[in-house]
Symmetry: C2
Subunit: 255 residues, 2 copies
Amino acid sequence: MKIQEILATNDDGIQAKGLRALVDAVSGFGNVSIMAPAFGRSGASHAITLDKPLKITKVAYDPLREAYACTGTPVDCIKMATGVVGFKPDLVVSGINHGSNSSVSVLYSGTLAAAMEAAIQGYQSIAFSLMDFAPDADFTHCIPIIHKIVNYVLQNPLPPLSLLNVNIPKLPLSQIKGIKVTRQSKGRFIEEFEKRVDPHGRSYYWLCGYLDLKENGESLDYDEYYLKQGYVSVMPVQLDMTHYELKNRLEKIQW
Amino acid sequence: MKIQEILATNDDGIQAKGLRALVDAVSGFGNVSIMAPAFGRSGASHAITLDKPLKITKVAYDPLREAYACTGTPVDCIKMATGVVGFKPDLVVSGINHGSNSSVSVLYSGTLAAAMEAAIQGYQSIAFSLMDFAPDADFTHCIPIIHKIVNYVLQNPLPPLSLLNVNIPKLPLSQIKGIKVTRQSKGRFIEEFEKRVDPHGRSYYWLCGYLDLKENGESLDYDEYYLKQGYVSVMPVQLDMTHYELKNRLEKIQW
């Protein structure tokens, strides 16, 4: 296999342990470069920065790698990496996110959005997340799983405008039951705003919440189902938000 | 028809002319309340604010309305409106955006994301955008179009986890040819970063770009096709990012 050019990014910021683990995991496949947010941007989704300019700074990541911190969002990182630095990666990897990106989190995740942006631009791309929010999470067991999935994608390129969303349980490798191809679980976050009062007497709110699944048990191929059983979830992602069934119905209306 | 509770938001900020036009357009259907970003948040996508707390301020919008400015993103506005203020709207409307939200802009748009968040939470919702970026754009011709579409949705509720993305051409009403139900055009933004140098000699970049359509002419039901011909585009939107065709293919692999 030829030496691959790989671009790594994330949404937890360039100093995150998960990004370091991802770079290590894919370094056997080729030349890994990095462009990641200067600070954590969890929940950034597909946001782009339009109201202020962006800066990038070359950082000493390790002697082998070209690495940049970017003041923007994860999606800005992909745009700057390809549009300003001129990277033309064979593969973009995003993560390893500290925390799962299953179900409706797909829509809020900066990790996934970076991989989506790469797919929009025509690059092969994969997002990786570990079901552990801890900053010092143990990513060791993710390495062979990432190897397997990256190896598959490099040998069997994904179709245009698609990518993979990989979620990995927080379990020793010996307890992981295998890999399952899944769909996005139906669900929503139930918000629990934590209200506080500042020293000046004004209220403010911290956004918290938990995932509330809305699956009815009819088909069990959803990501959360397999993750809870100890499988790695590989969810193939597309970028077309059209609701075709509703489109067919609405086309019959005389507006 | 019963008096409807309507919640209006946008991504251009609570002072935007387009929001005012939207509130006026839907006020005949019921009681309109407002929660919108304190400042413009174009390109915010589905971002949520996790790294700092949120504040809301009651603002004097007009004597008839309960209106709040929120320090967060458009999606935060929906979460705060339902989770903190306790709004239970029959309908959420987002916009009128200053500028189109067709094709891949669906993924970057805060206007659309707010409407998507409302749909995730189980509310009927519609996003409206005018193909005119000017802060003082003329929204007059949008009013009867919004009437027609809101009236339809209130009488024919959309299915769960769906919403409408409405784009309106910048044309006098007499030149608008009608309403077409469309799909999301395939396309991407070609970035053109404008490089500048700050007074301290450091480079920075403004993110600019233009839409590059990737349609091959096989089917002409895409939003950009009809918008260019002078039709209003009504694109039904869903929230499941799963690529089912690829899922079927990957399920056959021995991982």
